[in-house]
């Protein structure tokens, strides 16, 4: 035995230069790949930064391609001070926070129900969850608008009172919170799918142990199963925050008169032009940097949120303490 071991070791020593060469090669390849892709991803971000930080005069300078000659925060100052975006911003923050919180709780619960319990028709219902993802939201756009305008449950209200329902959820947070509360928020189907998949991959022993130890079904879910999915919660929180924050499609339908940030950003060209006095510089060299600055400010909270939450991605500890 000892002999064989010794032989193996000496072999290893002989091939070590090749081994290190191979390792170096794979490191090189990895970095080549990572840097190439990072370039594609960072390009627009650098573009925005380069645009928004340069003075308007830099546009007339041939020497300036990427790095501005005169750095200036004027454009950001203009957006913050003159644009009066505080109300739309507050609306977006409220919708994002409330709906994300609701959506996380509801989709996780529903996903748990589908992953862990079998009941009559559960498979068909799950297929229907996938169905809800398949329908393009554009398809239901008009119908949803009519529904939110005169909110009704299959004509029950109309049948009782004799007139179309007067519950109008347009322009209110309810138009977003109500679907989220019933598992139909923005791409909630996808989140249910993700949660189901991850809850299903938890070992049965974990649940059984908790049940045998006297936890009820709810406590097993909240106290034992859900904490194991901290990564999944982070993942879905990122998705949810981003999708609500940048949602333009539903905002356009549900907020006809009260604008939120997404609607303002879509119209940023017009808004910036309006804020510049008539005798001011209305050329695009003055407008474009301001628009880029507005976009940067719009995504800045998302980037900060992402930087904070990505730290909590960790190797899961689901199997610790389980043997066999």
């Amino acid at each position: 035995m000892a002999n064989i071991k010794f032989e193996k070791r000496s072999n290893n020593l002989e091939i070590s230069p090749g081994y290190y060469l191979g390792k170096m090669g794979s490191t090189l390849l990895r970095w080549a790949f990572l840097i190439a892709i990072a370039y594609v991803i960072l390009y627009p971000l650098f573009y925005m930064l380069s645009m928004s930080l340069r003075a308007t005069s830099d546009f007339y300078d041939v020497m300036v391609v990427w790095v501005p000659k005169t750095f200036t925060f004027d454009h950001f100052e203009f957006i913050i001070k003159k644009m009066r975006l505080l109300t739309p911003l507050f609306r977006t923050v409220a919708i994002t926070l409330v709906c994300t919180l609701i959506e996380m709780i509801i989709t996780s619960t529903v996903g748990y129900g589908f992953a862990r319990f079998k009941f009559r028709g559960s498979n068909i219902l799950f297929v229907l969850v996938v169905f809800t993802i398949m329908v393009p939201p554009q398809m239901l756009n008009m119908a949803n608008y009519l529904l939110m305008k005169n909110f009704d449950f299959f004509g029950i209200v109309e049948a009782i009172t004799g007139a179309p329902s007067t519950l109008n959820f347009l322009d209110s947070i309810w138009a977003f919170a109500l679907p989220a509360l019933t598992g139909q928020g923005i791409r909630a189907g996808l989140m249910i799918l993700i949660f189901r998949q991850f809850y299903a991959s938890l070992p049965n022993e974990l649940e059984e142990a908790a049940l045998i130890d006297g936890c009820g079904f709810w406590r097993t879910y909240v106290g034992v199963m859900a904490p194991n999915l901290s990564n999944t919660f982070c993942l879905c929180a990122i998705f949810s925050v981003v999708w609500y924050w940048t949602d333009f499609f539903y905002s356009l339908t549900y907020l006809p008169s009260k604008k939120n940030m997404a609607l303002q950003i879509d119209n940023i060209n017009q808004l910036v032009t309006n804020q510049i006095p008539n005798n001011g510089d209305k050329s695009m060299y003055n407008l474009a940097p301001k628009q880029q600055a507005a976009c940067l400010l719009f995504i800045l909270p998302l980037v900060i949120f992402f930087l904070i939450i990505q730290k909590s991605f960790s190797r899961s500890i689901e199997n610790s303490g389980l043997v066999g």
Partner: protein
């Protein structure tokens, strides 16, 4: 009254999923039923609300979409065609990226942050503003433009490649950039899936003498197959429901610009049925390859 354990479990299942069931009825069945009625009638905007006039023959709107409208079918086929190369690329690329980002190396955190930025900033809203500005300024001055491949095109033409090949390559290069941006969500989900693979599996593989590639192929890959299926379906749906999808764009245009709600509804249904067909086909192709933990456990029990 005491219920059996099994009965309690099935009741709890309904309780856990009840919010979704309610929402499904309210915000899915209800609008969908209106859309269904629209497709088989002729909707006109009235003074208050709308009226649904009966059609001469029930399938008139569908006939119009498939036979008379000259653009709809073309757009449908082109969005089907782009699926063929988009979906495999996105899935393979995102799995590959996730595996790399899951390895131990210096600067990993920074790279993870960069690779997931598209999830955060890749919204069409911001991209549209950048694109719009970039186009305007490029037209006015010789500025850098987004994802410009004209340099590449010139080089390839100088080397002496045929025009057609060069144009194919340049569109591919252009779409690779887009596809990289589109695959960030998939990469993120794959990474979380990879993180959930128990470390002990890898320890066993190492002890048994598996090489890196074998470990990936025999341990990692089987465990992520359910996610491959789910993400393939997601990618297909994402491509179909994307704002930039031409067929969908055409439906929205028919409804909002041309104010032909009933015809748009019929097109929507055709489109939806197409999506379902594609998904069902993909599902049944993939299903046999999907690894299930429970099956292995059943096999073990059988052998005992």
């Amino acid at each position: 009254m005491k219920l059996s354990y099994r009965k309690t479990r099935s009741i709890m299942g309904v309780v856990f999923t009840s919010p979704w069931i309610l929402g499904f009825a309210l915000f899915f069945i209800q609008p969908l039923s209106l859309l269904f009625r629209l497709a088989f009638t002729n909707m006109k905007i009235a003074d208050i609300g709308y009226v649904l006039n009966p059609l001469e023959s029930v399938f008139d709107n569908f006939k119009y979409a498939l036979a008379e409208d000259s653009y709809f079918v073309t757009h449908l086929l082109s969005s089907l065609g782009s699926l063929l190369y988009e979906v495999p690329f996105i899935i393979l690329f995102s799995l590959f990226t996730a595996v790399i980002l899951n390895q131990q190396f210096k600067g990993r955190t920074l790279m993870r942050v960069i690779f997931f930025l598209p999830v955060v900033i890749g919204c069409d809203l911001v991209m549209n503003v950048i694109q719009h500005n970039s186009n305007e300024i490029t037209m006015a001055a010789n500025e850098v433009s987004m994802f410009d491949s004209s340099g590449l095109v010139n080089t390839l033409l100088m080397v002496g490649l045929p025009d057609k090949l060069v144009s194919t390559i340049s569109t591919m290069v252009g779409s690779v950039a887009d596809l990289v941006w589109d695959s960030a969500v998939q990469t993120l989900v794959f990474l979380v899936a990879l993180l959930s693979v128990p470390q002990s599996y890898y320890e066993v593989a190492t002890v048994e003498g598996a090489k890196g590639w074998e470990t990936f192929w025999k341990v990692t890959f089987p465990i992520v197959t359910p996610y491959v299926l789910a993400l393939t379906i997601y990618t297909i749906i994402d491509s179909f429901t994307n704002v930039n999808n031409k067929a969908l764009d055409y439906i929205v245009e028919t409804s909002n610009t041309r104010i032909e709600f009933s015809k748009a509804a019929a097109m929507s249904w055709i489109y939806f049925i197409l999506i379902v067909l594609v998904i069902v086909i993909v599902f049944f192709i993939f299903k046999p390859f999907v690894f299930q933990k429970n099956e292995v456990e059943k096999d073990k029990k059988g052998k005992r």
